[in-house]
């Protein structure tokens, strides 16, 4: 039933997700395709010159345009569009003012409709290999190209559609695909993300008619994009994609769990958890990317969407963690949607595994919160743009960016236990973390590469998170995550003008240190913690000795517990037999070890009848003893339900078959006695037969057909099940026993056997039930003298008295 619900949920969510994606995704066009900036006269002039310079040759145009970019730009320069001061005034009124200040820095001031925005650019990487030749103007021009290339490098794919990667579409023979204005080449946005260059030309009949170059402002385009693809549509696609992937994962889990028995399960479980983790990490990166794009606009919907994105990711993470936990706890993947597994987390208790899971759990939330705060702070979005642009720019960087979560996990699983194993003092542990982070920061500064900064950030954050979690629980970890990142970002933002990106690590450290001081402050105030820290070496030694002493006494304690268990089990057997008129009963159970799997009981099954029962759970020792108590309970319950022996045993078999492990079973001899009629109905379930010795001495082993309980389902169990009947005469003796009696072995490995048993009982047939019982036991013990008792021995003797039935026989 539960499985069906889970399948239903999976299918519904997957269908809804697909619908969301399909409904929202199609019908988008690159927004530049239909865009055109009217070329001014001067630009047209340049274009014409450029076109003439190119000789109207459209074949291999891509190559030529690429090679001729500098030339075209120079043409623009010569036409007065680009001046010495690097001031570009676009016909639409935007003023772009490049100021060259040596090889290290370029400052561009963009006048966006009266609002001056100053942008900085560091062309070092792009310009370092460039050779600047010619007159100063040309040198500056070269540099400008370098700046632009750098910006392109830096911000590629920043705005969807702008990035054509110089790749205009050509037919197979190198001709532009269609006539009309084609924007063959669009530069990448400059470092502000708000300005790009556009190289456009007109192609008609395979010839270039016009050719233009112009700076374009992206701001209106961004606004345009927002119209086309609303924040919520982005969000919905994100939800859909996460939903589809998540449900595929769920379905895989469900299907695999069906074939659990045939799979190397622990391995499969590990793989699935790993896959789940990758999925979550990937979703985190994805949602961050989506949120980043939305975060270009610091408005309420985008902040809201960040939250929703983070919560979605969190939910996915929770499912994965619940799956991991369910698998670990119950070895059953099918319960993976059962969030109760998650709710059962003891948040306050710290262990490596739980820390790992908690870090997993809190990180998406923490990201969501921190990004929301970031989006709220005016102007800070430029930082996130830059940082993210780095990640998006280079695939390896993106990988490392996504790997920050992985770094957190690695730190949690490996580094923390390692540190804890070797460094006892908690403050030293904390100090070590800070030290490691500092070294990382220094390295980052030396290497001057943002990758290391990101790694340091990850490690530091992971350490902080885990440290906080281990000491104060999940809430502290979440708060720590919330606090430290914005602190660091605030710091960076504040110092933005001067701080290179390599010092991100330093910034994170400052944020982290602030957080740490709060943690430590709280820590000292916590009286229990303070107590713990004051523990001296001597006290520690004393504690150690104490624990060793405990270990020594553990064995004794265990033995004591066994004695208690033995008593408890003996108490489970009936104190005394029922008083049945005309009969006397005496039973004994001798376990081979402290506790055993044998059992006897007397149960009243109707007003007139009593069931006498001897049962034997396979195996011996503790496991048999535990099953024995279970069988006793089931027997009592079955007897209440059914007065008929057959029905009772069938019910009992069903219950036992359902719960007992495959290798175990129970054999049972049931004898229902009606004291008035002296009729004995015997049911044998895989048990040794009942011995019936008549008063005159004749011996019979009474066996009905029936197999052991818990071996087979009802169908097979009932197949040949029947009962046997016997009428006891005064002086008759019936003995129910377990196989510990007939299989008792002597030194020569001979078995005690049924014959010996019959002889012993025959010889004592006139004696009381108790006496017969003791004789049997004594002869068994004598027989196996010197050999350790090898199986539990249970004997129940029923004797029909010579007195009349209305006299009560007290035993």
């Amino acid at each position: 039933m539960i499985q069906r619900i889970e399948w239903f949920l999976i299918v519904v969510i997957a269908v809804v997700s697909c619908a969301l994606v399909l409904r929202t995704a199609p019908g988008r066009e690159p927004f530049l395709a239909s865009d055109s900036v009217p070329a001014s006269n001067s630009i047209q002039r340049v274009a014409e010159q450029g076109a003439s310079a190119l000789g109207h040759d459209v074949r291999g145009f891509a190559r030529v345009v690429r090679a001729e970019r500098a030339r075209v730009l120079r043409l623009a320069f010569e036409a007065g569009l680009v001046e010495m001061s690097w001031q570009l005034r676009h016909p639409s009124g935007f003023l772009v003012d490049f100021l060259g200040s040596g090889r290290e820095h370029y400052t561009a001031t963009v006048d966006l409709n009266g609002q001056l925005v100053e942008l900085r650019s560091r062309p070092r990487e792009a310009a370092s290999g460039a050779v600047f030749e010619g007159n100063p103007a040309e040198q500056e021009l070269s540099r400008s190209i370098a700046v632009e290339a750098y910006a392109a490098f830096w911000n590629r794919r920043l705005v969807r559609g702008v990035n054509t990667d110089f790749g205009f579409r050509l037919t197979a023979d190198g001709v532009p695909e269609r006539d009309g204005y084609l924007f063959e080449w669009t530069s990448q946005p400059d470092p502000s993300g708000r300005l790009a260059w556009k190289l456009s030309y007109l192609v008609r009949g395979g010839s270039i008619l016009q050719f233009s170059i112009a700076p374009i402002a992206l701001e209106p385009l961004l606004a345009r994009e927002r119209e086309m693809e609303s924040t919520f549509e982005v969000l919905i696609v994100g939800v859909g994609v996460i939903g589809i992937i998540g449900m595929l994962y769920a379905a895989a889990v469900m299907i695999l769990s069906l074939y659990r028995a045939r799979l190397p399960w622990s391995f499969v479980a590990r793989v699935m958890i790993l896959l789940g983790a990758i999925l979550v990490l990937d979703s985190i990166a994805g949602s961050r990317y989506a949120n980043f794009r939305v975060a270009l606009h610091s408005n309420l919907p985008s902040i809201f969407s960040q939250w929703i994105g983070a919560i979605l990711v969190l939910m996915l993470a929770v499912s994965v963690v619940a799956a991991g936990r369910a698998t670990r706890v119950s070895a059953d993947f099918r319960r993976w949607l059962g969030l109760e597994e998650f709710l059962r987390f003891r948040w306050s208790k710290a262990s490596v595994t739980r820390s790992f899971l908690a870090a997993f759990l809190v990180s998406p939330l923490w990201l969501g919160i921190s990004y929301s705060i970031l989006a709220l702070s005016e102007g800070s979005f430029a930082e996130s743009v830059t940082l993210h642009a780095v990640a998006i720019q280079l695939p390896p960087m993106a990988g490392i960016y996504a790997a920050r979560s992985l770094a957190v996990l690695i730190v949690v699983t490996f580094a923390i236990p390692l540190v804890r194993a070797h460094v006892r003092n908690r403050n030293a542990q904390a100090l070590l973390c800070v030290l490691v982070a500092s070294v990382g920061c220094v390295l980052a500064a030396i290497v001057e590469f943002p990758v290391s900064a990101l790694l340091v950030e990850s490690v530091l954050h992971g350490t902080l998170l885990v440290y906080a979690y281990r000491r104060f629980g999940a809430l502290a970890a979440v708060l720590g995550g919330i606090l430290s990142e914005p602190l660091a970002r605030a710091f960076v933002f504040f110092e933005r003008g001067e701080l290179p990106i390599q010092l991100w690590g330093v910034a994170m450290l400052v944020g982290g240190a602030l957080f740490f001081s709060v943690v430590l402050l709280l820590d000292v105030r916590n009286p229990n913690r303070a107590e713990e820290q004051r523990l001296s070496e001597e006290e520690f030694e004393a504690l150690k000795r104490e624990s060793e002493r405990r270990l020594v006494t553990r064995r004794e304690r265990l033995l004591g517990e066994f004695a208690l268990a033995q008593q408890a089990q003996q108490r489970m057997l009936p104190d005394h037999p029922p008083s049945l008129p005309g009969f006397e009963i005496s039973s004994i159970c001798v376990p081979a070890q402290q506790v055993g799997g044998d059992l006897y009981d007397y149960i009243k099954i109707s007003d007139s009848r009593w069931a006498l029962c001897v049962a034997d759970v396979s195996g011996k020792g503790v496991s048999a003893a535990l099953y024995m108590t279970m069988v006793k309970g089931m027997l009592t319950a079955a007897a209440v339900e059914r007065a008929d022996l057959l029905a009772m045993v069938i019910t009992l078999n069903e219950h036992i078959y359902r719960v007992i492990e495959k290798r175990s079973f129970v054999t049972m001899m049931l004898a229902a006695l009606d004291p008035v009629t002296r009729k004995l109905e015997v049911l044998r379930a895989g048990h040794p037969p009942m011995l019936h010795v008549r008063a005159e001495g004749s011996v019979e082993f009474l066996a009905s057909n029936g197999m052991g309980l818990g071996l087979a389902p009802s169908g097979i169990f009932c197949r040949r099940l029947n009962t046997a009947q016997v009428r006891l005469a005064p002086g008759d003796v019936a003995v129910l026993y377990s196989d510990g009696v007939n299989e008792a072995m002597n030194r020569d490995r001979e078995e005690f056997g049924e014959d010996r048993l019959a002889r012993v009982v025959s010889s004592a047939v006139g004696e009381t039930a108790e006496s017969i019982r003791d004789r049997i036991l004594a002869s068994i013990l004598e027989f196996q003298a010197g050999v350790p008792v090898h199986d539990d021995i249970t004997i129940m003797v029923l004797r029909c008295l010579h007195v009349s039935a209305n006299q009560t026989a007290e035993v």
């Binding site: 011996k620 175990s664 079973f665 196989d739 078995e751």
Partner: protein, 125 residues
């Protein structure tokens, strides 16, 4: 001890033949179990246990048979038992194992019964 427990393993085509010697009780059951487990892990579903030299079996020993039978039958295999001594046969009878397991007079007969079935399957295909 004259009767220490011993298992001799043979592979006869698809059938794994385990010949048991001596006493199969709570102590030796583990050895028997791991022998079968090994075969099952190797992908063998048809197992014949030769009990001709098995002089004693306890409930723990019987439990070993039970712990594999379901899994093997799901794989369309079986455990078949050949050559039980009368005393051990009696234990099987008392417990009702004859309802669950196919018993054969000799291990060879048990092995043959598997091979016949396989041939039958082959001709069906």
């Amino acid at each position: 001890m004259p009767d220490t427990f011993q298992i001799l393993e043979e592979q006869q085509g698809e059938v794994a033949l385990l010949r048991l010697h001596g006493y199969l009780d709570a102590h030796t059951a583990a050895e028997f179990e791991s022998a079968i487990q090994r075969r099952v892990d190797q992908g063998c579903a048809c197992i014949v246990v030769d009990c001709e030299k098995l002089s004693y079996i306890s409930s723990a020993g019987l439990g070993v048979f039970m712990s594999f039978i379901e899994e093997l039958r799901e794989k369309e295999g079986d455990i078949r038992i050949g050559g039980l001594l009368p005393k051990v046969r009696q234990v099987f009878d008392i417990l009702g194992f004859t309802e669950i397991f196919q018993l054969f007079d000799t291990a060879d007969a048990a092995v043959t019964s598997f091979q016949l079935k396989e041939e039958g399957d082959a001709t069906n295909v």
